[in-house]
Subunit: 466 residues, 2 copies
């Protein structure tokens, strides 16, 4: 066969792909995440990869993202249509682009299907999003985000905020990635605090963004940046003192309530403390272990659409990974196309990046290269009907099976099974075929036993469960 | 909240999206399909949505497809980078586009990871593909294909071809869409037949394409088209006679073997019959019921890369839907980037289109709008700790639960549960809280019973299984 010359068949820069061992891990994690999301009643949706550009830019929150616009490329035999296509709104001139997050599409989805949805609308979405970032370490241009959001019409109970830490905890306990801590804060507390130290209303978002960078840039830099914003030395000192308040949940709530009493004018601060108190109360009633979460006054989430509760999740001992699950409550995001108040609360797991980093750090391991648990070996071609039949019996019992159609010697077939991480080999020669038995070899333990074909499925199932 | 004016928030033409009821059906079908694929040892992969244009066009088989090229759109605050980006190979000038099928990407994937894969390489892939088709009924510009392919190096046993009908059968029996028939043929038989009636080698593919259209255009049109190709009247008559040969599997094989004996020169015909015989033998040994498949000499698959076995699947009584699962064997497709012979065999289910058409035809029904099976109602806010606790107990038992945080009257909450298709409501008032019981209402049967909280999960599980 002639080789097609000179084609660079590598993936475009920033678009890596998983090996089967890694993709199987992703599928496994998606199953876990989906199951937890569904256990709280979140329902799946999927929005198109391609949206109208005006939709994607509606919130003005393209932010720093490079969006990928699309333009049709006609096949050589249809170049004549080009002019027509360029004129047709259906084919060319209406600007469309790839979605860069799942929040704007959620807003559009709700606007598109308002009368078909029930509210509060709790949805999960695990689609790919696309950003033309400069491709550098761990930054992908296509990546999967596993998001949940609950959206209400006009109002939304704070208990939805309380469910988020319970969901995060369940997911990461099931994924078994080690000790983690969910850091909870409320942006109203930060806003109220900055009001109380005399920061002007139009500067508050900038100040919050600065302290949100505390871990990245350090305290000295935070002070400098606050100074650049024109905050007084006293204000800066108070800020540093404030965001460094530490303690158990109860201690933190006590201190915040105490502070709020000493700030008679700070309505927003008080509201923030009350909201946080309600949320923490809900988290407790949901049975989340106290070592899984804390109140951290220094976290704020960069995105300025958050208005209340915010979350970040730190993998203890691996702080450099950054937050592995973040989110918060927002008021003015989802109703953008309808002009209606639609408060929401949500979290997001950047799964592609998380897997890639957890694999690199050795916290997670790739799975076997195949889902097959058993390989039925080919000892002699004339017994193939037996091999096919035994394979089907095992599949009917829920076992994943590869039948070897390989005519090479057994040792080669064993190698192939081992290389793919298959645990069991079933060996049937003419003697076994007559006696309706099989040799079952466990490639993990190197143990080999004789089993009657009738008991084979049960025997394998039992060993798989160990 | 101010409405963002004039934004057309509808999906772009040709990019529909599912409601939750429909998306849940898709998720359910994907689970079924994946499970069957994995039971035969197929392993998941996913290739990037975006590939180099030269990769997508490598096989020259953009065909009639309009490909979506991509071009970065800088955010307003980064327009200055535009010139630079246009010059940089990393950002602009290297042509990239959205994948339009999964076969070319599979070839690229194998080339990219050759040394990390084991062969025969059996993979499944259920990604979205993109084609700039004119959006007309049932034609989408973004759709999910659920593909499997097994690819060998140099050779590949025909028993892989035999597995495909077994896989198709299992999937559609599990989806429970009614009676279907897998039509099997071998393109070598058609090629050999046309040789035998004197059709020139360079015309054979065109003739095969014509008879492949038999169902679409009818016999009269097929005759006309063959005549246009310059086939003799005698040849046309023989062709019509040939593709109309009907009978049971054994009758068909008998007739084909008989024909091949009367064609001493037709090596390719003979080879095709031998291959078909081997494949059918394998299908039988895999235990596929005989009413699920047949030999149909008129099917060929339009795509001219198929070289041997071909499959189409017809839903009986709904022939107008076209083939619901098709595929075949190819020789010169996957090795294109490596210049190596890599025979493969695969099938594809065009899931998005299939779901959309089966829903329209009433063959499949949407699922409930939420995965939640239970709603724990809110009778009085002060019992919320109890509601949260009971909800968590049920979730631990594997039940999907929505806790109602609604403070409105119970009837409204019942309505909300019903509208979303939730089967059970759990009602706990102060009396129940004291006695550690709950009222369990089955919204399907309208039955209501009192259950102790300790037995609640078991009671619901039992009723869900009925």
């Amino acid at each position: 066969m002639a080789k097609t010359d000179k084609v660079n068949f590598s993936t475009p820069s920033g678009f890596p792909e998983f090996l089967p061992t890694e993709k199987r891990l992703e599928v496994h994690l998606l199953d876990i995440i989906r199951k937890v999301y569904e256990s709280y009643g979140f329902t799946p949706i999927e929005t198109p990869v391609i949206e109208r550009l005006e939709v994607l830019q509606a919130k003005g929150n393209q932010g720093d993202n490079i969006i990928y616009g699309i333009s049709p490329i006609l096949p050589p035999n249809r170049q004549a249509e080009k002019d027509k296509a360029d004129k047709s709104s259906d084919n060319g001139s209406e600007a469309r682009a790839l979605k860069f997050d799942q929040t704007v599409p959620l807003a559009a989805y709700i606007a598109r299907h308002l009368n078909d949805l029930t509210f509060p609308f709790a949805r999960y979405q695990m689609d790919m999003v696309f950003r033309g970032e400069r491709a550098k370490d761990g930054r992908f241009r296509q990546f999967r985000q596993c998001d949940i959001d609950v959206v209400g019409r006009r109002e939304l109970s704070l208990l939805y905020d309380a469910q988020m830490p319970a969901i995060i905890t369940e997911i990461f306990e099931k994924i078994n990635i080690g000790d983690f801590r969910i850091r909870i804060n409320n942006r109203k507390i930060l806003t109220g605090f900055f009001q109380s130290v005399g920061v002007a209303a139009n500067q508050i978002k900038a100040c919050i963004a600065i302290i949100d960078n505390l871990e990245k840039i350090g305290e000295v830099k935070v002070k400098q940046e606050l100074e650049k914003e024109g905050i007084s030395i006293e204000g800066i000192d108070k800020t540093i003192q404030f965001i460094n308040i530490k303690g158990s949940i109860d201690e933190m709530l006590g201190k915040l309530k105490h502070l709020s009493e000493s700030m008679p004018e700070a309505e927003i601060f008080k509201l923030g403390v009350t909201e946080l108190d309600t949320v923490i109360d809900g988290v407790r009633n949901l049975g989340v272990a106290e070592n899984r979460y804390c109140i951290d006054l220094a976290i704020a989430r960069g995105l300025d659409y958050y208005t209340g509760t915010v979350y970040e999740t730190t993998l203890l001992g691996h702080e450099a990974l950054g937050s592995i699950c973040s989110g918060g409550r927002y008021e003015e995001l989802v109703g953008v196309f309808l002009g209606e108040k639609m408060p929401g609360v949500g979290i997001s797991i950047g799964l592609t990046r998380l897997i890639s980093r957890l694999l690199k750090a050795g916290i997670l391991n790739p799975l076997a290269a195949t889902p097959a648990q058993v390989m039925v070996l080919n000892m002699q071609n004339d017994l193939m009907p037996v091999y096919l039949n035994v394979s089907q019996q095992l599949r009917k019992a829920g076992i994943n099976v590869i039948t070897s159609f390989d005519s090479r010697q057994l040792s080669k077939q064993f190698q192939l099974a081992e290389k793919q991480g298959i645990q069991f080999c079933v060996i049937i020669g003419s003697e076994e075929a007559v006696s309706q038995t099989a040799a079952l070899k466990d490639l993990k333990t190197r143990e080999q036993i004789q089993v009657s074909l009738d008991d084979l499925a049960a025997e394998i199932q039992q060993r798989l469960q160990v």
